[in-house]
Symmetry: C2
């Protein structure tokens, strides 16, 4: 419930209060553990809803009828706000023609042209459905193109949920990860050491646009680290693969490392490129065009026209709206507001990484007791935050939404201060 | 163009004739090879369109404005016909609420309950996006549940396009397939031999609902073979994993092997379960519930409510319409009609596998010269067939559509006879 919620709507909440509980107990019977993956509410502080009813702009409503100002944006995909009229209209128009057919629609070509036009690193694009499809495809292309096998990647980084990269090793064999060598993000020496370890078998360096590991301070890439990754790839004939799944289109519309002057050979995209419609992409340069042609990848729904039409409209909206500037402004407003409040309550805060993907943690909070209380208190007042994962902003977040949220966080900080 | 096409619409075709060509040449620049995966028209006989404009029922229109009676159903997904009103309405209703949010909608629970209610083998369900997600997830669960590593699977079977199973080995490492052991479909001795080879490390037998390999006669499972697979898994504590991605919901609404009296531990579903909306599922029994909880799988769009609402409506429609009986009737009508025509022209035909997924090849046609000519001639007259892959039927295929198609195939056979 938001600050503006009325007594009448509070009454409705009470009547519906059991919906989420009921769905959870039904889910326990027919879904292992009741829920799985990153949207599992069991990983959140007490009080978080598991099931959602509807969404509009930067607001979501759970099945108990509670409204939240949302700072997760569906964990990234919703970048222009839920039900953005222009994007929905483009999707509807395509749906009225056809979606999943015996071949692609013209949207495939238009979208590939669009990405190639936007991203200086890219000469071509290929589309999939999951972020994991995109990272896996990029590495397969890198291996096909180089004839090498070893992949360097940062320890603790999330690149998807296939056996080669899943955070759990249940059901994973040693061979699934036989050719992975780990380095520490932003640590040039460890990157060089990993490259030495790969010997003459280095296929790729896979690296996230910034360090967005769970539960630790976020880190923007050190330009020297980014340049070293590029240099190593050039010297060794390996592919620099940028994982843009999380950061993509929020830091820059030209590629997240473009400002550093470092261009990847291959980049993996998903989440925000179609405002919540299921789509992923790999973009690449001409050096890897032939390799991309040699591998075999496909999926039953990959050529669906609706998600591609939504992506074209999303990219239009992002460009027309100076989206990155908006995310920066809203992110800065939130960060500064939170900092002022934390200072007032004498609570040392760790706000790290790019402001567009807010990450808010407390100092001396190894067990996340403070973070959990903070998030749970904000949730009670209608602000949906995450206590140990980066958050996301959308075009639908206005100054007024940020300010409403800050009214709520002030109260949440007061509860943490009283711990 | 169909048999009913008018001179006026033929004129429109001529004006648009270059659309497909234009899109192909634009695609060559921005997509490696111009197209990839199973929808690549380069694998089809000359004259097949690459790009599609719209679809309705069992008809598709290419970007040149040509209309076809379609026997591929988007390679499986479209099972109730394109733009089925009830399914579209369910999807629209969910879209008007919300699709991709911070958690699932109630549709997740309803759909899991629905599958568990329909499929006697299943105690639970989990959802993904690609068929490959479902097969990979099922094997990961099998390995987690058994603590073993070896997977037995049929030589030449298609189970997806990840490095462990892709038909191409470009970019694939030996380790990606280190624990796979191959048998011949329907060959009990080779299955037993593969199981012996796995020693005490057998995690699963993965098997397609029927043999639907590309370019060879299709085979329904021999009941003795299916029972042996079940026996071996029981004796060795391994999981029987049924790949229902291709066949699912066309042979039976209770699971494709239910009629054989053989129940899998785990089954992988995708394609037809949501009539073209991107969705996949793994269903499993209680023996693998805990393992399914231990693995970590997820995807940015997996909990989208729209595809699940479409799936619920699709399953309703299939049940209400006696869909399997309809597919059988239409499939038999097509098969018998083609057989009569082939006999008339003295052309020995191989029609194999279940009638619901028609497979039409010619005897003595190793290079598919006859099949290619047959398909190309049918295409010219507005019937979209495949010359070496199984085809698919939908609820939208009526007796009249089959009969219209048979008018065209008669002419196509005459061309093959004249070879």
């Amino acid at each position: 419930m938001t600050a503006t919620q009325t007594a009448a709507s509070r009454q409705i909440d009470n009547d519906n209060e059991l919906m989420d509980t009921n769905l959870r107990s039904r889910a326990e019977r027919v879904i292992p553990g009741g829920m799985y993956g990153h949207l599992n509410a069991k990983a959140l502080p007490p009080g978080y809803p598991q099931f959602f009813e509807r969404a509009q702009g930067c607001r979501v409503w759970d099945v108990n009828g509670r409204e939240y100002i949302d700072f997760m944006c569906s964990w990234g995909p919703v970048i222009a706000g839920h039900k953005h009229p222009g994007i929905e209209e483009a999707a509807r128009r395509q749906a009225s023609l056809g979606d999943c057919m015996n071949g692609p629609t013209g949207r495939l070509v238009e979208l590939a042209e669009r990405l190639v036009g936007m991203l200086p690193h890219a000469d071509w694009a290929m589309f999939q459905k999951n972020g994991t499809d995109a990272t896996t495809t990029a590495l397969t292309i890198a291996r096909a193109g180089t004839g090498k096998r070893k992949i360097l990647l940062a320890k603790g980084a999330y690149h998807g949920a296939a056996p080669w990269c899943s955070p759990s090793v249940a059901g994973v064999t040693a061979e699934d990860r036989a050719h992975l060598i780990y380095f520490a993000f932003n640590d040039v020496a460890s990157l060089e050491q990993a490259a030495r370890q790969a010997g003459d078998d280095l296929a790729a360096i896979l690296v996230s646009a910034f360090r967005h590991d769970l539960g630790v301070p976020q880190e923007l890439p050190d330009p020297a680290f980014a340049r070293k990754a590029r240099e190593l790839c050039d010297a060794r004939g390996a592919a620099l693969v940028l994982d843009e799944v999380r950061a993509g289109m929020r830091l820059s519309l030209s590629g997240s490392w473009e400002g550093l002057g470092v261009r990847p050979d291959l980049a993996a995209w998903s989440k925000a490129i179609a405002n919540g419609y299921a789509l992923a992409a790999v973009t690449g340069n001409d050096r890897y065009r032939r390799a991309a042609q040699q591998i075999y990848i496909t999926g039953s729904f990959w050529m669906g026209g609706v998600a591609m039409a939504a992506a074209l409209a999303t990219l239009d909206v992002l460009e027309r709206s100076n989206a990155v500037e908006h995310f920066e402004n809203m992110g800065l407003r939130l960060r500064l507001g939170l900092q002022r409040q934390a200072d007032k309550y004498g609570l040392p805060l760790k706000q790290t990484g790019p402001v567009q993907l807010p990450s808010v943690m407390f100092e001396q909070d190894a067990d996340f007791a403070k973070g959990s209380l903070f998030a749970a208190e904000a949730l009670k007042q209608g602000v949906y935050l995450h206590h140990r994962h980066n958050m996301f902003l959308s075009l639908a977040h206005s100054e007024r939404d940020i300010d409403l949220a800050l009214q709520v966080t002030d109260h949440a900080f007061s509860k943490v201060a009283a711990l």
